[in-house]
């Protein structure tokens, strides 16, 4: 508020006592301000048009084009996209075993990653929310948030180095007398890396949910004679559920769409790899668009269910 000095500087100077000799000529800025005054619709339009054009036209337009192109096909001779509408891409998906296998593998991995991440996330989230000293809380939160926002590719690359032949993991298991475990470029490697990459996304919503539970609620449960385990099961867990569901949205959605991690640490294909290959090497963008609709459709269902479970308040 003290920055308002800029506004009343003139009043300050003469204490408002001197009679003003010249009338102030309205500046262009004042004219603009006057033009906008009392015209909320105009102001709204000025504010809203640029973002609406960007997201509404460029982005939603692109998405519409993508969905439309799922019904187009590529001319085999010229390699160009032909706009005759049909279900040929979906028929290809339906009739080829490989596309089912890849889709189910991806969904299976997404589910496994989600379950593992929840189990890993819960103790850390619980520790930060309820056990850690208030002083160390922001530090640990920062440690969780930093990997979330940064270097997803680099973090996947780190695991390629760790898991590769004669890498850190092989060395560690040999030291433990287990021999080189050698899981580089396997499905296990992909699973570990997915779990690792999305873990911070799962921790934070669970933390948010746990942190909101008032201590008095837990005390009440104890006063009413519940054992610790009962309090946990009947009070903490139900209240943490929206956070858990919110976290699972991330781990599930991110696994469904990713192709980078499998291409760096694995050998098998996931939905993302098929989409990527069809846009690139195979030059069949319409088929890629059709196949990409699978994760979109799954997430649409998932989000509808999650919304019912109150997950959106934790995001």
């Amino acid at each position: 508020m003290h920055r308002l000095l800029g506004v009343d500087a003139e009043v300050d100077r003469d204490q408002g006592l001197t009679k003003r000799t010249e009338p102030r000529t309205p500046t262009r800025r004042l004219q603009l301000s006057a033009a906008l005054h009392g015209r909320p619709r105009l102001k709204l339009a000025l504010l809203l048009v640029p973002p609406i054009v960007w997201i509404g036209v460029i982005y939603l337009g692109s998405l519409t084009l993508l969905f439309a192109s799922a019904f187009w096909r590529v001319d085999e001779l010229s390699g160009t996209i032909v706009h005759d509408w049909g279900l040929q891409n979906f028929r290809t998906i339906w009739e080829n075993e490989i596309y089912h296998t890849v889709a189910f593998r991806t969904i299976k991995f997404a589910a496994a990653v989600t379950v593992i991440d929840i189990m890993l996330a819960f103790p850390l989230a619980y520790y930060v929310a309820r056990i850690a000293r208030p002083k160390s809380r922001p530090v640990i939160l920062l440690l969780i948030v930093m990997p979330l926002w940064s270097s997803y590719l680099v973090r996947a690359f780190a695991w390629r180095t760790i898991l590769s032949h004669n890498g850190v993991l092989d060395w560690a298991t040999s030291k433990l007398g287990l021999g080189a475990i050698g899981i580089g470029y396997s499905d296990t490697a992909v699973l570990i890396v997915f779990c690792y990459l999305w873990l911070p996304f799962v921790i934070l919503p669970i933390y948010t949910a746990l942190e909101r539970i008032p201590s008095s609620l837990l005390e009440a449960s104890q006063d009413l004679g519940a054992k610790n385990a009962t309090t946990f099961r009947r009070v903490v867990l139900p209240l943490a559920k929206p956070g858990i569901v919110a976290g699972s949205i991330f781990s599930f959605a991110l696994t469904l769409g990713d192709y980078i991690a499998p291409s760096l640490v694995g050998k098998t294909q996931f939905i993302g790899n098929i989409v990527k290959d069809n846009v690139g090497a195979a030059n069949n963008a319409p088929f890629a668009a059709a196949y990409a609709l699978i994760p979109v459709a799954i997430m649409a269902v998932y989000l509808t269910v999650a919304r019912r479970m109150g997950a959106f308040e934790e995001l």
């Binding site: 508020m1 920055r3 308002l4 800029g6 506004v7 800025r29 603009l32 301000s33 909320p40 102001k43 504010l47 640029p50 973002p51 960007w54 997201i55 460029i58 982005y59 939603l60 337009g61 998405l63 993508l66 890993l120 996330a121 103790p123 850390l124 619980y126 309820r130 056990i131 922001p138 939160l141 440690l143 948030v145 930093m146 990997p147 926002w149 940064s150 590719l153 680099v154 973090r155 690359f157 780190a158 390629r160 032949h165 850190v168 092989d170 060395w171 933390y207 837990l218 449960s221 104890q222 610790n228 769409g257 192709y259 980078i260 989409v275 990527k276 963008a285 890629a288 994760p295 997430m299």
Partner: protein, 272 residues
């Protein structure tokens, strides 16, 4: 409520999970000092050689410049459009207001590959219509699309906590619209703007999926890293150093954004 044993147990588990989060990052840092061509562990000899090689490598320099340009461009657009949308949604009631935040979050809620190929097909279409070409401009276009929501979320959260009476007071004291904005509104949302901008920069800085589909021949740092990982001949030693540099550089904006929004706005997963 927890017994002593439970607390110790939870604490141990929490520390193990934290270690799981950070060991790979430490590995990245260590390997940057790897003097040998082999990626095996333990590192045979330590060296700073790859640092100067990376610094003088033309492809790495070009990629660094492209990444900086893309992130700056995307951040500027995100700041302008994100805050405009935030003001519109906060100050006005209009038809479809709820749809705005949904549409803004969509580019980041959908898998990156969907956003990527959607934009790619649109750019191809734009190429047919009016000669649009893949390049730095299309990278910025793609990044800005998913960065807008970060600024929007931060600013809208701040505006909700800022009392409208300050604005009214300013107007009563005779300030015009610009002065009210400059001296009352802007100071109150400044840190939210900076935090949103920093996060937008961080997200753009190491984004790879959308970039892959919108870049054409432009190479950003993540694209360079990805190429170098898959083609070991081209830069085994270099990629360790560049990867570490990209990671540490992305920590800086995130750290400051977190400090600016700590306790006040929800940063964490908001908008993702």
């Amino acid at each position: 409520m927890e017994s002593k044993a439970t607390r110790v147990l939870v604490r141990t588990a929490a520390m193990l999970v934290l270690a799981f989060l950070y060991i790979p990052l430490i590995i990245i840092v260590l390997y940057a000092f790897n003097g040998s061509i082999s990626q095996s562990w333990p590192i045979q000899h330590w060296s700073l050689e790859w640092f100067s090689r990376a610094w003088h490598d033309q492809a790495v320099r070009d990629a660094l410049l492209a990444s900086l340009k893309a992130a700056t461009g995307a951040t500027v657009i995100a700041l302008l459009l994100g805050s405009a949308a935030a003001f519109a949604v906060h100050r006005f009631k209009f038809f479809g207001r709820d749809a705005v935040s949904f549409a803004l979050v969509l580019p980041i809620a959908l898998p990156g590959i969907v956003t990527g190929i959607a934009l790619a097909s649109a750019i191809n279409y734009g190429g047919d219509l009016f000669g649009m070409q893949f390049g730095l401009f299309t990278v910025i276009l793609g990044h800005a699309t998913f960065c807008i929501v970060l600024v929007y979320n931060n600013v809208v959260a701040r505006l909700r906590r800022t009392s409208l009476s300050l604005v009214e007071a300013s107007q009563d004291l005779g300030a015009d619209g610009w002065q009210t904005f400059r001296f009352v509104v802007l100071p109150s949302i400044r840190t939210a703007l900076v935090a949103g901008g920093l996060l937008a920069f961080a997200l753009s800085w190491d984004e790879i999926v959308v970039t892959t589909f919108t870049a054409g021949n432009v190479q950003t740092l993540p694209l360079w890293i990805y190429g170098a990982i898959r083609n070991p001949q081209s830069g085994r030693g270099l990629v360790n150093v560049v990867a570490m540099a990209v990671m540490l550089a992305s920590f800086i904006p995130v750290y400051f954004a977190q400090r600016l929004t700590r306790q006040t706005d929800a940063m964490g997963t908001t908008g993702l």
